[in-house]
């Protein structure tokens, strides 16, 4: 007879790796769909960048086309990455419901933080790989104006934004627990609103005032502002602080808030029997 007792932290660590590995296996099995999606998002980013290439002809005025194209491409790439993080986290529940594994996962002894952390780590790794491939392909087609770029500054902003957006995604992930019928649809609306108000393809100041007000609460707004400053203007980390601190505050608020809300949502679903229900 042999008893091997593991410390709690090691059990949670093994489970975190389990979630990452499971998602990797799923990506492998759905490889053709992944490829289709990669082609779609790459073509989409190129289409948006071509809008910049044609802007001078369409508007009939002299503009810095190279800078405008880089501005648009940064928006397309960063949105592709951040929206993917948001989608992976927000679909945590509905995805497992669709596969039929939600009860097995939710009755396992590891913590929900571990579950969501595993999902988040995979989303970041997947997002980095996808964005790097997109950038590699797109750079073959366009001459981008990155002569002043501060890449380190851009990466710092992106990393901090990733944390706050994961928290945002966890808040959205609770929606399918509250309403199996409508929860996931609402999270798609949240994603669409982030796209609208966060200044992805235009400066936030062109939006109506009420949208500008809403944009203050989107981490994507600060991420894009900071990353564009770093890549287009070569802003130093000190100069990027105005974008970094709101992201840090949002991360500090959204991650615990997301975990707290998810815990309440899970308790509600277990009281009302909505964990299993698919609609």
């Amino acid at each position: 007879m042999q008893e091997r007792i593991k410390p709690r932290w090691l059990v949670e660590l093994v489970a975190t790796w389990g979630y990452v590995q499971r998602n990797y296996y799923l990506t492998k099995r759905y490889f053709m769909w992944e490829l289709v999606w990669l082609v779609y998002v790459t073509a989409n980013a190129m289409t948006i960048t071509f809008i910049g290439a044609g802007a001078q002809d369409v508007a009939g005025i002299q503009i810095n086309t190279g800078r405008y194209m880089t501005y648009l491409l940064i928006g397309a790439l960063i949105w592709s990455y951040l929206s993917m993080l948001f989608d992976v986290l927000s679909e945590t529940v509905s995805w497992e419901r669709w596969e039929g594994t939600i009860e097995y996962t939710f009755m396992s002894p590891t913590s929900r933080v571990t579950h969501l952390l595993g999902m988040g780590i995979y989303a970041v790794l997947y997002g980095i790989a996808q964005t790097a491939i997109m950038l590699g392909v797109i750079s073959l087609f366009f001459e981008l104006d990155l002569s002043h770029a501060n890449y380190l500054g851009a990466l710092v902003v992106l990393a901090i934004c990733s944390v706050s957006l994961l928290g945002f995604g966890i808040v959205a992930a609770v929606l399918p627990l509250l309403s199996p019928e409508k929860g996931q649809q609402v999270s798609y609306i949240v994603s669409a609103l982030l796209l609208l108000i966060s200044g992805i393809y235009y400066p936030v100041k062109v939006l109506p005032e009420w949208m500008q007000f809403m944009a203050q609460f989107s981490p994507v707004t600060y991420a894009l502002r900071g990353i564009r400053d770093a890549l287009l203007n070569g802003a130093s980390l000190r100069e990027l602080w105005g974008s970094i601190w709101p992201l840090m505050v949002m991360g500090a608020v959204f991650v615990p808030l997301g975990l707290g809300v998810f815990h309440l949502g899970e308790s509600y679903a277990k009281r009302t029997g909505k964990l299993k229900r698919s609609g």
Binding site: K6, A15, T101
Partner: protein
């Protein structure tokens, strides 16, 4: 006893210590659960359910579809919180300390809850990791279990969706066994299987019963299965457990004019359902 791998810290150890004492593996007292449906309709799924499962005992719950068997299993496995009553697993309050009791139990349900595109091996490794069991620890155990259930190891690398229902259910049992649970919850594990697969799965449950130290709660509407596998059998109707006794005692309870009925006749007398109606 099987190797206990992936045991999660002091709380899990506490369950193991309690497990070794004489207390019941499972104890339910006055458990009630109602669900609100649309138009304010309330369905009472569990109505003052009380029973125990002793250590190493196999208890069967027979009941027609919709009688509350699956809700009962979900309450014990911490997936549904009851409105009233208590659930204790080796003396630990499952409602107040769900994570502690989750470490000591596993469940096999009527639906194969797997990632259909992943292989059996990938699903097993994932399931093991959720309980803290690493790939290196799990692989020899998986080989051993698959050999025991007569599952061709070469097929373990095929996607689950390529396997028959019977094979999927064997993998579900293997996954549950992989985490060395001291309490196993089997919710209609043979429903919908062809006769041969059903016999294989039942034989596997018998082997678990003989070789492992697990206590088992088996919900089914298969009378032969209940009679053959269970030490005690209960009948559940409309969320209530009408009787819970050894199969022979249960049958004698419904004896008429000196004729001891079969378990099927006993079930019909107690519930008013035929076996066909019960499984419809």
């Amino acid at each position: 006893m099987a190797h206990r791998l992936g045991e999660a810290g002091s709380e899990g150890a506490a369950v193991r210590q309690r497990e070794s004492s004489a207390m019941n593996a499972l104890e339910l007292r006055g458990v009630e659960k109602s669900f609100k449906k649309r138009r304010s309709e309330v369905v009472r799924a569990l109505d003052s359910v009380s029973f125990t499962v002793g250590r190493g005992e196999v208890v069967g719950i027979l009941g027609p579809n919709g009688s509350g068997k699956s809700t009962l299993v979900r309450v014990i496995s911490t997936l549904v919180v009851p409105d009233a009553g208590s659930v204790r697993v080796f003396g630990v309050d499952a409602i107040r300390h769900p994570k502690t009791v989750q470490r000591s139990m596993n469940r096999v349900s009527v639906e194969a809850s797997f990632f259909k595109k992943l292989s059996a091996m990938e699903n097993l490794l994932y399931g093991a990791k959720l309980y803290g069991v690493t790939t290196r620890e799990a692989k020899p155990r998986i080989k051993e279990i698959l050999d025991n259930i007569g599952f061709d190891r070469k097929r373990a690398s095929e996607p689950m969706e390529h396997l028959s229902r019977g094979m999927q259910q064997k993998i579900a049992l293997a996954r549950a066994l992989l985490t060395s649970p001291v309490l196993m919850l089997l919710d209609e594990p043979t429903t919908g299987l062809d006769p041969r697969s059903k016999r294989d799965v039942q034989a596997f449950i018998r082997r678990i019963k003989a070789a492992h130290d697990s206590s088992i709660l088996l919900c089914t509407h298969d009378m032969d299965e209940a009679e053959e596998l269970c030490d005690r059998v209960g009948i559940m109707v409309d969320g209530r457990i009408l009787a819970l006794e050894e199969p022979e005692k249960l049958k004698r309870r419904y004896a008429r004019d000196g004729h001891v009925p079969s378990l099927e006749e006993t079930f019909m007398a107690a519930t008013g359902y035929t076996v066909e109606e019960a499984s419809a």
